[in-house]
Amino acid sequence: MGHQASEENRLTWVTSGFPVEIPVAMDLGVSYPEQYGAIVGSQKVGPEVCGYAEDIGYSQELCSYARVSIGSVENPDSSPMEGLPKPQALLAGNNICGTVLRWYDAISEQTGAPVFLLDTPPIEDKQPDHHKEYVLRGVDRLVEFLGTTFNKTLTEERMQEVADLSSKALGLWTKSLVACKTSPSPLNCADRFLAMGPVVSMRGTELIIDFYQGLWDEVEMRVKEGLGAIREEKIRLLWDNIPPWHSIFKFFNGLAKRGVVFPADTYTHAWSGQIEGDDLFDSVATMYSNVYLNKGLDAKIDKMCNMIKDYNLDGFVMFSVRSCKRYSLGQLVSKEIVTERTGVPGVVIEGDMVDSRVYNEAQIQTRVDALLEMFM
């Protein structure tokens, strides 16, 4: 689908937190470099593809999604699926991190496609009025930019249609997430990480409604029958951060064998909320400014503590992702405070979501074992 849009010169690459409903409503194709990063990681060729970026001078200390992206544009023939199809515009939203600005600038240099940045400065807790005003003007400019670049218009009708579809999918997705409050949890971490793909990359399309309806039907059934995602649920934990795509099954299934399930995590729960009301753009400016990663550490801590309480969790695992400074840098502090406030123990494990060269199984094993021993 992305290939077709690229051939028709109407493909955009977007960041995962971008209001994708707008380009979709303007009949543009969307591809997700971050999701491509996850795929490359899962195929266990993260180090190689990152290496293509490192060969042209990008430091190994940079975001591994960015390195994979830059590396696959540099060397598509040696990259999975030959990389993503060529974009005609790059849409970056910095509500997930400040890195996207620089990453997309680099891609722009490589591909010649122009960048549009939707700036949503981080907020402490509540979104100030002048912040919403500012973001709204950015949304207006986005529509203008897409209009000029692709010679397309956005009708209110189509925007409403897409917003409704997006809300519907998100609604179904959220129901499945919330159902994990039950014990046994119908879904485990890896299930959610894989199932979230469509709602991240194809929000606003009709295609995914069936998928999430199907997911919800399955989840509903499991809850009714008391079927858990894992055989014998003994311990329920919270997961924080992006997962190690290269070892996702090994890690979560390994723990599942020991009765450990993850009914909730901060990553998959980030795609929720609805575009609604009379003023859709206002809703966009609110929803996309208030995502988990765009709030202060206090707000993140609150969210984690609430999830531990609401989902009845026994502890937590924080994955300290070396190449993701935005998500990882507060963890040493939040770990202490979450335990203080909830009384449950947690552990920080180190690695990277894509670059398996910095993932040390032995160290992770030791730390997780130590956590599990606390429950005996």
Partner: protein, 259 residues
């Protein structure tokens, strides 16, 4: 009347001195451990060069290089070991385009340009597993000497996978392999494979242009040469006295002045 040049290379472990004439013939040379006092090593080297050549050193230009290059008082100037290795290798083999030097503590890659001068170069990052130290650590883990490590690795044709960029983590990967019952020769091979991929990554930043020369203590390791050659996709040329290429380059610069 013949002209002469002296090159003095004060490394952190060994100190080297070379006296050459304008025909590039070596009239005197000396290698010794640097020891605690670089100045003493420098004096000893000059003594040796004088007595071996039978020449008065007063009118001969001295260029110094290496870690302790600023300590050579009689030197007309100091030049970095990168430039000196490049000039030195070029004078031994003008065809060489890429020089890879792997020492105990650091690694460098130099793309040699016109007249043997470095066109581009890279040093290893502060903490990377691409130096002699990596091999030392791993030999210890396997319970063998560093000299035994290379030949052992050559006995394997299925190297164990060692992917960590950090020596400490790589060490625990090796321990993991030992625990899982992997054969020592496969582990040794994996160690060399891992190291050579790090060096190749460093080399790519400078662009790999053959022919390639390798110098430094690790150049003597046959397994390292095997895997490096394999991953670079080209043969390797090793000079006869790889330790002296820095001093040689310095002597060449001394001979030729600033041109």
């Amino acid at each position: 009347m013949s002209k002469f040049g002296i090159g003095i290379d004060i490394g952190s472990t060994t100190a080297k001195g070379l006296l050459i004439d304008s025909d590039m013939k070596v009239c005197a040379k000396h290698i010794m451990l640097t020891g605690a006092a670089a100045s003493q090593a420098i004096d000893k080297i000059l003594e040796e060069l004088e007595s071996q050549s039978g020449l008065q050193l007063d009118n001969i230009t001295i260029i110094s290089t290496g870690y302790g290059r600023a300590r050579v008082e009689n030197a007309e100037k100091s030049v970095t070991e990168i430039t000196c290795h490049s000039r030195g290798v070029h004078s031994l083999n003008p065809e060489i385009r890429l020089l890879i030097d792997v020492g105990g503590q650091d690694s460098k890659v130099i793309r040699i340009g016109k007249k043997g001068r470095p066109d581009d170069f890279e040093l290893n990052d502060k903490c990377s597993a691409g130096t002699g130290r990596f091999l030392e650590v791993m030999a210890r883990v396997l319970g063998i000497t560093i000299d035994e490590l290379g030949p052992l690795a050559l006995q394997s044709d299925s190297p164990s996978s060692i992917s960590s960029t950090c020596t400490v983590f790589a060490e625990s990967e090796v321990i993991g392999h030992i625990g899982a019952g992997a054969k020592p020769d496969d582990i040794a091979a994996g160690i060399h494979e891992s190291m050579s991929t790090k060096i190749v990554a460093l080399a790519k930043r400078v662009k790999v242009v053959p022919p390639v020369c390798v110098t430094g203590g690790v150049a003597l390791n046959p397994a390292f040469r095997h895997y490096l050659s394999k991953h670079l996709g080209t043969n390797l040329w090793i000079p006869e006295e790889p330790q002296l290429t820095g001093a040689l380059g310095a002597a060449v610069i001394a001979l030729n002045g600033k041109s």
